[in-house]
Symmetry: C2
Subunit: 425 residues, 2 copies
């Protein structure tokens, strides 16, 4: 039972270094757990001469990724390169040669899962990627295994730590968006180039991965409609709080009764009592609703070198153990995507308009909303020295009706500006 | 790939009925997911003549459990009988005959896991029990698979819905314990006989299961020190809130640096910002702390027929699929238990004493605490017409020192009564 499992690593940045050191330090413990000698055998990097952690001997490194994916002395491949290519082609080589793959690459899994699954299945080996979505939060395995047999209805996540840090700082300390972003960058919660986070692109990849597993459908990042958080300002938080709401960047996947799915990332008001409203700072969480399981939530660190290593290590032990027993995890059976047109998605809204301070304004605005079937839950008029604002909370309406109402509202002479339209969870 | 998997069920109460109907209704969906014909073939019950749901034909039922555990036409056994015997002996027969077992039986798994594991491992079949601890909350698989390779430090759970419902009602609506218990019973959140819940016995079984998986140690319900919630009163909530705390019934398992483990169930003050403080009503949650994963939390419905069926269904599909592929989940490798003496566990405390309203009382009490190394974080004196009370919040101290201090305090002539001693998380 003391079979060797030789691990090859693609990529050795921050996470790769922590992972590689952890595997080397854990060999005794992993052997006691699994009866396997799990050894880090080789690491492919772009630049062999870059200074590395002293715990990683120079002879581990190669600049030729084929020394990992195609080599006879590598049993399992762990991929931490990121990016769709060349990672995708390399992993197809590895899987094709019967090597199980553990990947933390969200872009790759969110865009090329069908091809990777097919190759893994044909070879009868594992393709595991817990680390590709929300790091240590155990949501991939929960969806892929625990809840696999159950029809799920909805998945709502806070799955980007940068935007959650920014919105938490705005909420808790009244910061404006720019100041909160600068702080997040200074503290290392946001990259200097944080476009992928702010725009929702990062969350879109993760949502595609999670929703594919939740609904058994091939969904890719391109199927996600993503809206950034840049427009939310400090005053939105003041108004939201007055009515018992937080503002969060949500990723929402929903399964509709006729078998279609909607996938969206957007800033949204969330009722303070909702468990997701309490997810603060760089923490992440995913709430899952199913017919049998009811409301579940998983919560934890969604990024970072240790959290990612935690997820990688769980998958590595699984893959190594399955390989040694000549088995592998079922590949999720995926149907082709069926997307619900965005138009037909229902949601309640928070609307803020700058308007003329004149009799008849409220009536004109309400009448446009009413004509498009948008029913008003409550309305508030704010008069300051500078301007008059109307804030509406609506009942749920389709996005089609809301879009039509908005298009008409901005044409009204009484409406100076449609300042904000945010959804309400 | 359309191999049949014939399921035999032991027990058919509320949960069994929901589970049996769900399996029958889901056969097409499960076949599409797994390529297997998962069929409910037989149900062993005590009383065959009891009126049953009309969706379950009479010919499914037998009164002889051997028709399930020993029969050649049963491939997988699902056990919902509860109780240690005869369930334990029956499952040993089933496993011995090479039938994978899915069980929701917390008492059995918490008390006889080593023997069951050994038999399952020898037969090379699955023993799965997600439903035995916190129902649909996906914590068993998370500990057994995702976090298996990682050394965990601590597990803190709210894992009994009845006590959490009672304490939530006391906290939110100021009810006294008796009124909250009566309400929980009336609404069906508590059994008419809720001793096992109130005393912590139910939570102790679940904690033993979870801690065994978390720390890779054979821990049984008898290793858990359990304290009930009966003594907590409405005024404790008032004082706790004044200092920013909730009161929750916690199950705490901790791994100590020298390799020992402590397992306890007790009512505790929990800081309002802690995610566990927000777990309301009959919901359950488990927070897990590890060196790599950081702080994780899983949250959801910890009981109920649908939630339990969700967990059973996930395990059933897993077991059926593994059986068809001739494989099974690794049995967790368990070391013998090493328990940390309760005395050496550290904790901060909330103490409430009824004392004489005399100069020198505070000094006498403080001096006893000081002599035992119990350091005071803050103290509050409450004078009412009827009595004078002292409330202390201490810094962390060992239970040994606290026990010694308490023994001496009640001997002081100034101390009329030690009303409450609760830990603070």
């Amino acid at each position: 039972m003391s079979r060797r499992v030789r691990v090859g690593l693609l990529g050795c940045g921050n996470i790769g270094t922590t992972f590689a050191l952890t595997v080397r330090e854990s060999s005794e413990r992993l052997a006691a757990l699994t009866g396997l000698q799990i050894e880090l055998t080789r690491i492919a990097v772009r630049d062999k001469d870059k200074p590395r952690d002293r715990g990683l001997p120079a002879e581990l490194f190669t600049t030729d990724p084929d020394d990992v994916v195609a080599a006879d002395d590598i049993d399992v491949v762990v991929e931490l390169m990121g990016g769709i290519e060349p990672a995708g082609e390399l992993l197809l080589v590895a899987l094709g040669k019967g090597k199980p793959v553990v990947s933390a690459n969200k872009e790759l899994v969110a865009n090329r899962a069908p091809e990777l699954y097919r190759t893994a299945d044909e070879a009868g080996v594992d393709l595991l990627f817990e680390a590709a979505a929300v790091a240590a939060v155990p949501v991939v395995r929960t969806l892929r295994e625990s809840l696999r047999a159950e029809p799920l209805r909805r998945l709502v996540g806070i799955i980007n730590g940068t935007t959650n840090y920014i919105l938490s700082a705005m909420s808790e300390r009244g910061l404006e968006y720019g100041a909160a972003l600068a702080e997040a960058q200074q503290l290392g919660y946001a990259e200097p180039d944080s476009d992928a986070d702010i725009s929702g692109k990062d969350a879109a990849s993760k949502l595609a991965i999670l929703a594919s597993l939740a609904f058994g459908m091939h969904l890719s990042a391109a199927d996600v409609l993503a809206e950034g958080i840049e427009s939310v300002d400090a005053e939105d938080f003041v108004i939201a709080k007055r009515y018992g709401f937080e503002i969060k960047a949500l990723a929402v996947a929903e399964s509709w009764p006729e078998g279609s799915t909607s996938l969206e990332v957007f800033p949204s008001l969330v009722a303070e009592q909702h468990p997701l409203a309490k997810v603060r700072g760089s923490y992440n969480a995913v709430a899952i609703t199913g017919a049998l399981c009811g409301e579940l939530m998983v919560y934890g660190a969604g990024a970072g070198r240790e959290a990612t290593t935690s997820a990688l290590l769980g998958d590595l032990v699984d893959a190594a153990d399955n390989l040694a027993r000549g088995t592998h995890r079922r590949v999720p059976v995926h149907r082709p995507a069926r997307l619900r047109p965005r138009d037909e998605v229902d949601c309640a809204f928070y609307l803020k308009l700058r308007v003329l301070d004149e009799p008849g304004t409220l009536s004109a605005v309400s009448s446009v909303l009413g004509r498009h079937g948008v029913s008003i839950r409550f309305v508030e008029q704010e008069n300051s020295e500078r301007q008059t604002e109307l804030v509406f909370f609506t009942h749920p309406t389709t996005l089609r009706d809301m879009d039509a109402a908005r298009a008409e509202l901005v044409q009204l002479p009484e409406v100076l500006e449609l300042i904000r339209a945010l959804r309400v969870l």
